[in-house]
């Protein structure tokens, strides 16, 4: 594990991508193939299964460190990371072992069949034999999460450096539901054929937000579609079976069972890119309807009837078993249209229509209708563009509608976690109602680090009352809160719940009595809910 800890330290100590990439590339050339494979797995979200609960780890760490539970919890709330807290409070290791990363992962897996006492003995011994960085990483593996500032993009770049293969090829190879238990370094990275695994998706092509028409050239080069407000999905029909992948590389096949019938209508070797939408009477429902199905592993009948879904297809990536991503968009769409045409209209598949326009002004007018159509805006795609992988500038742009906004008063503040521990970054906001303030949302993002620091200093000096980690502050600061949607919610005091609320601006120019009211909020609900 020493070499893995050294890799982690090199990555963690640097803010420069080139340094991180070089560290990873070195590691991919020197570590054992098993460790390399596990490293790729960890950094792409494929962690070993949890074999021990966080509660047990906290208890044991507090016990070994001789701390009362509340003090451990207090420490955790400051550090913001359980594994780091444990590594910090434990006494220094008294022994030293150098085993491979793969060894420790096997050790963690082996815990699942043991009794609690033996698990505890094993983990305590491990803690006592690992120096601090290794102890932190080992505990991080135990707790499951492994986000340490390495993106999948960085991994592929480093692998490209280490193996001499193309980044795009590697990105494709790393997709899908492999784990280090189902494959090897040779099969995953060195073998030639990325389609060997029938469930493997293609990397999604992601668009940037549009920042003007000046560089786009003539409108005739472009094709526009609605930007649907659902879940991006890639439907794969291969070998008589089907798979549905989310953009976050989650397999969603079982969550949307109604899409299974599409494998009967689409030819084998078809891969579609589209949006999973709640849909009825040829009309997309609002995202709120779909929300009830997110996070469910199985779907009860009632929900299936109330929020039926379709795939609104907008691109074709594989046709009759051939990767056609380098065909121009218009040709892919023609082929896609023909495929959809052959599917009966009772089946849950639609072609996302193009939005006709001659001038950018036409397009702007079309964008203004988005909310009525339950769309998030428009997508603009160059007609002759290939299907690229990852977020790329130039050929695809998203042109979202402006968010809804409301001016609200900050009334509570709480310190953040991890990178934001020690900064007050999580706020509760209220709207006015007569002389009262009614809390209606929390928000965590949208301000600069400098603004967060300024507010943190202010909160420290202006705390009225503490409720555990939460500080009540005098209603002084007004923020413009942006959000994507609003719906009625009996669980909230204000009667509303917002979708993706964030701070758009700190309205230093606005006094509290000019903040919006509960009536304003209710009006937004009536209009957009």
């Amino acid at each position: 594990m020493k070499d893995f800890a050294a890799l982690f330290t090199r990555i963690d100590e640097s803010t420069k991508t080139t340094v991180k990439t070089a560290a990873l590339a070195d590691y991919f050339q020197t570590a054992t193939p098993e460790d390399r494979l596990w490293t790729i797995a960890l950094f792409t979200g494929r962690r070993p299964k949890r074999t021990i609960t966080a509660t047990r780890l906290r208890e044991w760490a507090a016990e070994v460190a001789g701390l009362p539970d509340w003090l451990f919890e207090e420490s955790y709330s400051i550090v913001g990371d359980l594994a780091e807290t444990i590594a910090l409070v434990l006494p220094p290791a008294t022994e030293s072992e150098n085993q491979t990363l793969t060894h420790w992962i096997s050790f963690i897996k082996s815990l699942s069949v043991l009794e609690d006492d033996s698990r505890k003995a094993g983990i305590l011994k491990a803690w006592d034999s690992l120096p601090s960085t290794e102890r932190f990483l080992f505990t991080k593996l135990l707790t499951g999460g492994f986000r340490i500032g390495v993106s999948a993009k960085l991994i592929t770049r480093a692998l490209a450096q280490a193996t001499g293969q193309e980044e795009a090829t590697l990105t494709h190879k790393l997709m899908g539901n492999w784990t280090p238990d189902t494959t090897t370094w040779d099969a995953l990275i060195e073998a030639d054929d990325p389609t060997a695994d029938l469930s493997r998706p293609y990397p999604f092509y992601l668009a940037y937000g549009l920042d003007g028409f000046d560089d786009l050239g003539p409108p005739a080069d472009w094709s526009a579609e609605r930007k649907w407000d659902g879940i991006r999905g890639q439907l794969i029909v291969r070998g008589g079976d089907h798979h549905l992948w989310s953009r976050g590389e989650d397999l969603m096949t079982d969550r949307f069972p109604e899409l299974a019938q599409l494998q009967d209508y689409l030819p084998d070797g078809t891969v579609l890119d589209g949006e999973v939408l709640a849909f009825r009477d040829e009309t997309p429902l609002s995202f709120n309807a779909l929300q009830r199905r997110i996070g469910r592993k199985t779907v009860p009948k009632k929900v299936l009837t109330e929020a039926p879904v379709i795939l609104m297809a907008y691109d074709l990536l594989e046709h009759l078993g051939n990767d056609i991503r380098d065909w121009p968009l218009h040709k892919r769409r023609e082929t896609l249209a023909a495929l959809v045409q052959d599917v009966p209209s009772a089946a849950p598949l639609r072609l996302s229509a193009t939005v006709p326009f001659r001038t950018w002004d036409d397009l702007s007018a079309a964008r203004d209708q988005s909310r009525d159509l339950n769309a998030e805006g428009l997508m603009l795609k160059r007609r002759d563009s290939p299907y690229l992988s990852g977020r790329k500038r130039g050929d695809w742009w998203k042109w979202k509608i402006d968010p809804l906004t409301i001016d609200a008063v900050m009334i509570y503040a709480q310190a953040g976690h991890g990178r934001r521990a020690n900064l007050f970054t999580d706020y509760t906001f209220a709207v006015r109602n007569g002389n009262d303030l009614v809390p209606f949302t929390k928000a965590y993002s949208g301000l600069t680090d400098a603004e967060f620091r300024e507010i943190t200093t202010w909160v420290r000096k202006n705390t009225l009352q503490r409720f555990g980690p939460v500080r009540q502050v005098p209603p002084t600061h007004v923020f413009e809160i942006a959000f994507e949607g609003i719906q009625a919610s009996p669980r909230h005091k204000s009667g509303v719940a917002l979708r993706f609320p964030r701070m758009l601006r700190w309205r230093k120019d606005k006094p509290v009595d000019e903040a919006n009211t509960l009536d304003d909020l209710k009006e937004l609900l009536a209009t957009f809910g």
Partner: protein, 336 residues
């Protein structure tokens, strides 16, 4: 028995001697533990501080009415017997012992219990009541041993120098900067200093403290004039355009907060060295125990948790609110 000290909105007050300790609003008579700006403030009628703290106070506060005292020397003020004892925080820093009719209270100011090779080492002072800071009063704070720390900094500097990078290290102008100066290996390359740090260096040199040779940064100084240099800068100078003149560089912070990965990453410095002029968890607990005091007053830091912890250990522990801020990473306060 009456309380020797009381806590007012001007500062810590001694009725028996009619004086304040480290007050934050103007008062007639102020006893000062050390020269950091949240403890030694301007506009007091009269000051009393140690011989070692006096030069920095004069440098920072200008013309003041300042009486000085040696460590351990007793000064009678009204009914109070006052003496200053090393706090190990920065050169000249003191804990202030106040005895009234056999009742002894000690104000520790800021302190650390490990020797840094520069400040007079912390000395436990037996007392009935102990007023302590707890900037790092949580068990997550354990300082890197001095020799390991020195090795880390030297290795970082040497690697940068070999790769043609300037090493820029952020540290407080008073105390930490000089402490780092005395521990780094000056054979690696030239040591450049930011103006605020060099001013403090001069003050300390003038009072007889030996520091290695340093070169003040001037508008002409660049990485070409001084390749492979270590630049000591105030925390607020890091991340500004000032650092650009040193060409390719690696930046680092030296602070107790660097024990936390999240904080380290938020600073966007390349490295964080865990070094503080305050006591860590172990240090605070040891120091408090050594005083033999039963009554403990926690001033600045993680006061809520620390008070609860001390209460559970059997102390009569209280929180008092003050205007001290200990070790901070906020740019406007960090140059103390």
């Amino acid at each position: 028995m009456a309380d020797v000290l009381s806590f007012t909105d001007r500062g810590i007050y001694c009725p028996a001697g009619d004086f304040y300790i480290d007050p934050w609003r103007p008062v007639d008579r102020a006893l000062i533990t050390h020269g950091h700006s949240d403890h030694a403030r301007p506009n007091m009628g009269r000051y009393l501080a140690t011989d070692g703290t006096a030069p920095v106070m004069r440098h920072r506060l200008g013309k003041i009415d300042l009486q000085t005292t040696a460590y351990g020397q007793v000064t009678q003020i009204g009914d109070a017997a006052v003496s200053f004892h090393p706090a190990g925080h920065v050169p000249g820093s003191a804990q202030i012992r106040v005895a009234v009719k056999g009742e002894v209270w000690v104000v520790s100011g800021d302190y650390k219990t490990v020797a840094d090779g520069l400040s007079e080492p912390f000395e436990p002072v037996p007392c009935h009541a102990f007023i302590t800071e707890c900037t790092f009063g949580l068990p997550i704070f354990k300082w890197t041993p001095e020799d390991m720390l020195t090795a880390q900094i030297n290795a970082w500097w040497a690697a940068n120098a070999a790769a043609g990078r300037t090493s820029i290290l952020g540290a407080y102008a008073l105390g930490k900067a000089q402490r780092l100066l005395t521990t780094v290996n000056a054979d690696i390359g030239p040591i450049l200093t930011h103006g605020a740090i060099e001013n403090t260096n001069e003050v300390l040199r003038a009072q007889g403290i030996t520091l290695p040779e340093t070169i003040p940064v001037t508008p002409q100084t660049t990485h070409k004039t001084h390749p492979g240099a270590l630049v000591l800068a105030t925390p607020s100078a890091l991340g500004t355009t000032w650092t650009r003149k040193f060409g390719p560089s690696s930046t680092a912070f030296a602070s107790g907060w660097m024990a936390l990965r999240g904080v380290r990453r938020r600073r966007a410095a390349d490295r964080g060295f865990v070094v503080s002029d305050h006591a860590d968890w172990e240090g605070l607990n040891t120091a408090i125990k050594a005083t033999g005091a039963i009554r403990i007053f926690a001033t600045h830091g993680y006061t809520t948790s620390f008070q609860r912890w001390l209460s559970e250990q059997g102390y009569d522990a209280h929180i008092v609110s003050t205007d001290y801020h200990g070790e901070t990473l906020d740019a406007d306060e960090a140059d103390a």
